[in-house]
Structures are given as C-alpha cells and as structure tokens.
C-alpha cells in the first residue's frame, strides 16, 4: 500500500516551511520603491530627508496606517469597510467637544474616542455578521448614517478652542521624542502587534481561513460571525484612536471636513500593501509601507513644487504598479 511504500522522510518540518514567509515579496518591493523615492526626493528637494520634513510626514501617515491595520483585517476576511471616514468624523467631533466642554485629561479623551469608534464599528460588525448582506453595502449604508450623526453632533458649527491636551500625538515639538513622532510609534506598535497576531495567534490565522472560505470555516467550527463583529469593532476602535491623532495634528478648531475621503486613502494603502481584495491573503506591514508610500508621493509632489493636483495621479499610478507586481508574482507562484 502507498502509505508503506512512501520513502522515509524527516519526521519534523521546520516552522518556516509551514507558516507563510516572514516578509512577503510585496513588502520587499514596496520597501525598495520607498527607498528609491526617498533617495530621489532627497536629491531633488532641499530638505525632504530632514527631520523637520520626515517627522510631520510620519505624523500624517500614522492615522492612515492605524486605520489601515483594521482595514487589513476586514479585507482579509473578504470584507471591506467604507465607513471608516464617517466613524473618524463622529468620534473626532464627540471627543473634541468633550475636550472643550470638560477639558478631559488625555487618557479619558482617548478612551472616549476609542469607545465611540468601537460602538460604531461593532454596529457594522453585527450587521455584516448577521445581516447576510455584502459588507460594502452595509458600510455604505452605515457610512451615511454615521455622517448624519456626526453632522448632528457638530450642530452646524465648528468646535473652537480645542485645548492642547492631545498634542503629544501631534506635529509639534510635544508630538515627538528625539524627532520620532509618538503618533507614528503608536501606529508601528499597532502594526507589530497585528503582525504577530496574524502570524502566530489562533484567532489571527483563523481570519485567513474565514477570508479564504467562509463556509468551510464555519464547518471547521470557527465561530465566524462573532469574529466578524470583533474585526469590524476593532477597525472602529482604531478609527477612534486615529481621530485623536487628527485632532492633535489639526488646528485648534475642528470642522466637518475631518476624515473626509480617508476611506479611499486607507483602502489604497491596504491594497498597495499587497492585501488581496478578495480576502484570505495580506499583511499589515505592507499596509504600513503602503500608507507611507501614498503620503510620500503627495508630500513629494508639493515639495518638488509640482502642481499639487498631480499628486493623486501618481498615487493612482503607484496603486497600479504595486498591485501589478503582486499580480505578476502571484502568477509565477501559481505556475511554480
């Protein structure tokens, strides 16, 4: 019988061969592209590679990367969340108003923001998990509703005179230690934790399973729906934290425009990072690099003195390049 006929083989397999590689090709490609870009910008602009320039850039990146972590989870489960911008808006305005009204301590402000985001995200999760409607539809719907909530809270005015409570997350000098912005550190920590979680934790690996074949995951005994609720809730919470960063890096007034258009930027960062939009494959490190890439391009165009409207043309092109290389490698992998 075959079993017996099978020749002898090492009894152990090294983990590296069972788990996905530590760094994906996509991450290497992105890193390469980034290095090249930064070098070029360093050459062609006077001050791109100075702390005064990189610092603020990373502060700008932080919220995108942070929400990107959640969005990566969501897209891994073959979902998508187009309501993040609206969630940012709601928790930003709520927090800002409380800061002005009660001069909350930073910790409390953070908790409030995160709690608000968590609540909204959980609503998304419940609807996605139990509503049996495609996530893009659910989150389109909730996005509109969240926006309405946000506008009601704004109550047709801006929030003025926001205290500097959260400045330790901002662009200013309080915002960074030894030139390293705290906001960015937080984002990096979040990415690191997520990376570990997705690679080694049971719950993390199961997300890939859910994204790869939801029905099979259910039959394998994974509680799919609760997991989805958590995933969307976490995204909401991260959006809340990102909202604090935006308050901090923004001016002393907050207006309705907060967060607008961020959902597409976040999705752009995630897909540039090599996460497959159909789920089951992706990495948070890629997302971080993607977020940095997008912001580099936008800032780079400004610093080069080119018309700023060109910035997003390049973002578009980079999306195609990044995903293109991923497609090519994917084909190669399938052939091999």
């Amino acid at each position: 019988m075959t079993a017996t006929a099978a020749p002898e083989r090492p009894a152990q397999l090294s983990l590296r061969r069972i788990l996905p590689p530590v760094v994906t090709g996509q991450e290497i490609v992105l890193l390469g592209v980034l290095v090249v870009l930064w070098v070029l910008l360093g050459i062609f602009t006077p001050a791109f590679l100075t702390p005064g320039s990189i610092g603020p850039l990373l502060v700008q990146v932080a919220p995108i990367a942070l929400v990107g972590v959640g969005m990566t989870f969501v897209i891994l489960t073959a979902g998508i969340d187009v309501s993040v911008a609206a969630m940012i808006m709601v928790s930003a305005v709520t927090t800002a108003q409380l800061l002005v009204a009660f001069d909350l301590p930073a910790v409390l402000a953070l908790l409030v923001a995160i709690a608000v985001g968590l609540a909204l995200g959980a609503l998304n999760g419940v609807l996605v998990g139990y509503g049996r409607v495609h996530p893009i539809i659910i989150t389109f719907g909730t996005a509109n509703i969240f926006q309405w909530i946000g506008l009601r809270v704004f109550d047709s005015s801006t929030v003025n005179g926001i205290p500097g409570t959260l400045d330790f997350l901002g662009r200013g000098s309080e915002g960074s230690t030894l030139g390293v912005p705290h906001a960015f550190v937080i984002a990096v920590v979040a990415v690191a934790v997520a990376w570990w979680f997705l690679r080694y934790a049971k719950a993390g690996r199961n997300l890939y399973a859910i994204g790869g074949n939801q029905n099979a995951a259910r039959l394998a005994g994974i509680k799919v729906q609760p997991r989805l609720v958590v995933v969307y809730a976490v995204t909401g919470a991260l959006a809340g934290l990102a909202a604090c960063m935006m308050i901090a890096s923004g001016t002393s007034t907050l207006d309705q425009s907060v967060g607008s258009g961020k959902e597409l930027q976040v999705i752009a960062a995630v897909v540039i990072g090599g996460t497959s939009i159909i789920g089951g494959r992706g990495s948070v490190v890629g997302t971080l690099l993607g977020a940095i890439l997008v912001q580099t391009v936008v800032s780079g165009v400004t610093q080069l003195g080119w018309p700023t409207q060109l910035g997003f043309l390049f973002v578009g092109i980079f999306i195609l390049i990044a995903v293109g290389t991923d497609l090519i490698r994917e084909r190669a992998r399938r052939r091999a």
């Binding site: 005064g52 926006q147 662009r171 890096s249 207006d255 309705q256 800032s299 700023t308």
Partner: protein, 324 residues
C-alpha cells in the same frame, strides 16, 4: 396636472405690498456648518427680528453645485419672496436664478456673485482688490516688505479664491518688487491637508518667510504648521480666517493677522437688501438701519453691487470680540 400652482404660490412674492409682513427671504450658502456662513445666518436672523420678515436658511452638506441646486429648487417651490444664493458655481446658478425670477421671485447673490445672471443685486463683502491687497499688505508688513511666500488655497475650482489669488500675484509684483510668490497649492476643504502642505512648503523652500491661508479652513492650517515647526517669528502667516478659529494663533503670533469682514454684518446687510428688493425700496439709503457695522456700505447702481466696505483686519486685540 397643476402647472399653475407654482404661479399661484409665487404670486405673493410679486404682488406683496410695501410692508415686511409675511415677507420671506431665503439664503442658500455654499456649504452649511462652517462658521462663516453660520455667522451670516446669525446676522440675517438678527435683521429678520429687527425688520420683521421671515428668514430661511438651508445649505448643502458638501460644497457641491448639484446639491445646492436641489435646495434652490425647493425654495423656488416654496415660493419665497426673495432668494439669496452664494453660488458654488456661478455659471450653473445663472439658469436656476432665471427660473426663480420667472416664478416671480426676487433673486440676488451674496458673498459670491453670479455675474452674467439675472440677479438684481450682489451683496459684496469687500472688493476682490480690497481683499487681495489687504492680504498682501498685512503679510508683507510682517515680512518686512520683502521675501518669498506661498499660498495655500482650498478648492481648486473656487472662483472667488482664484480671483483673490490673481490680485495678490499682480499686486505683489507691482508693489513689492523684492517679494515673490513661490507656489500656490490646493488643500481642498481639509485642514489637516492644508497644514501638511504648509509644512512641505516650508521644507522645500527653506528661505520661505510667508504663508497665506486663502480660506477659512487653510488660514488656521498654515498658522498651525508654523507653530508645529517651531518657526513662529521666522515664518509669518495671514489668511482669511474666522476670528474665533484664528484667535489662538493671533495671540501666539504665528498668525500676523486675519483678513475678513464683519460676517454677521454681511448677513444683516443681505437680509436688509432682501427686504428692500421685495418692497422696491432704495438700496442706496440705509437711513432706516442702525447698525454701526454698516456705516461704510456703498451701493453701485450700475453694477448692482452692494458693498459692505473695506475688509477688516483681525488681530489678537479685536478678534476676541466676535463669537464666530
């Protein structure tokens, strides 16, 4: 079925007598919820109470010509007597104003004009030149009459912002030979974007000593960027910012001045002009009005422009007096 209803509902507007009784004046801003237009609303309501007409205010949630048109249409349907619009897109508003007039409504513009339209009057906060020059003068006074500066504008397509920018360019070239505008960037209505772009500009032009925030969202943005970069006193900023949002920066010195005008007064003037239109009153004489903010008002019969007066320069001293 009811083709003529509109005519009937609109009739009052056309026939209504001289009194302000039952007079309804509507105002459609470019965008709701921003302090600038909400302040105009306040001024308008104040006028309504004092002069005794009904003041309606409704704006789109995004600065979007189509959304604005829907609201204008609903006001036409409501058969208001006078309709004021601050058009997002003057061209697209023109035909709608025509429709409104055909429905027997007095139409007018405020804050932003729709030049080749049937509007009866344009309530102008300040002349394009006035604003452009005030911005330039205030900034260059701080910069010591020379140096490089850049402009952080907002919506790429905003007509009046682009007009002001043109004036600034010409005026700087002619009046301040040693000064130069190195770049004009567009941040949309997004404060964070404005701040980031200002930061980028300072980095890419180390010898930059001035920044202009061309609209109410980028004015505080550029000041914030200067503060964050810790270059208050080296890089000077001015902008068109509402007093409340600029106050902290005026006090910290990161903003050398905010060029604007008494927005509530502008709203008041708009309301008053509306009443005059409805009663075929003379837009020239404000005798009936006691509002010290409206002393400098001029009316130009020919162009049908009602000018609030020269722009105000807000400083740390006076900015606190305004609650918007």
């Amino acid at each position: 079925t009811s083709r003529n209803d509109t005519g009937e509902t609109a009739a009052p507007g056309a026939t209504d007598g001289a009194s302000a009784e039952g007079l309804t004046i509507a105002f459609v801003p470019k965008l709701q919820g921003i302090p600038y237009f909400e302040a105009m609303n306040t001024g308008g309501q104040q006028a309504a109470e004092e002069l005794g007409f009904e003041w309606l205010y409704q704006g789109p949630t995004t600065a979007d010509a189509a959304a604005q048109a829907d609201i204008v249409r609903s006001f036409i349907q409501q058969g208001v007597d006078v309709l004021f619009v601050a058009p997002n897109d003057p061209n697209s508003m023109a035909p709608l104003l025509q429709e409104a007039q055909d429905a027997g409504i007095h139409v007018a513009t405020t804050d932003t004009d729709a030049p080749d339209s049937v509007r009866e009057v344009f309530v102008n906060q300040a002349s394009v030149e006035g604003i452009g020059q005030a911005l330039t003068d205030t900034l260059l006074e701080a910069m010591g009459g020379s140096g490089k500066y850049a402009i952080v504008s907002c919506g790429e397509t905003a007509a009046n912002l682009n007009a002001w920018i043109e004036v600034q360019e010409e005026y700087t070239a002619s009046e301040y030979p040693d000064a130069e505008i190195v770049d004009v960037v567009y941040a949309g209505e997004d404060q964070a974007m404005a701040t980031q772009m200002a930061t980028d500009l300072m980095n890419s032009n180390p010898d930059l000593t001035g920044l202009v925030g061309e609209c109410t969202s980028s004015a505080p943005g550029v000041a914030q960027a200067v503060e964050d970069a810790g270059r208050t006193g080296e890089v000077f900023t001015v902008g068109l910012g509402t007093p409340q949002s600029m106050l902290p920066y005026l006090e910290s010195g990161s903003s050398s001045g905010s060029i604007l005008w008494d927005v509530e007064a502008l709203g008041y003037l708009t309301g008053w002009a509306g009443m005059q239109l409805a009663n075929d009153g003379d837009l020239g004489d404000l005798s009936g009005v006691d509002n010290e903010a409206l002393t400098a008002v001029e009316y130009d019969e020919a162009s049908g422009v009602l000018l609030l007066g020269p722009p105000t320069v807000f400083t740390a001293e006076n900015a606190g007096d305004y609650d918007y």
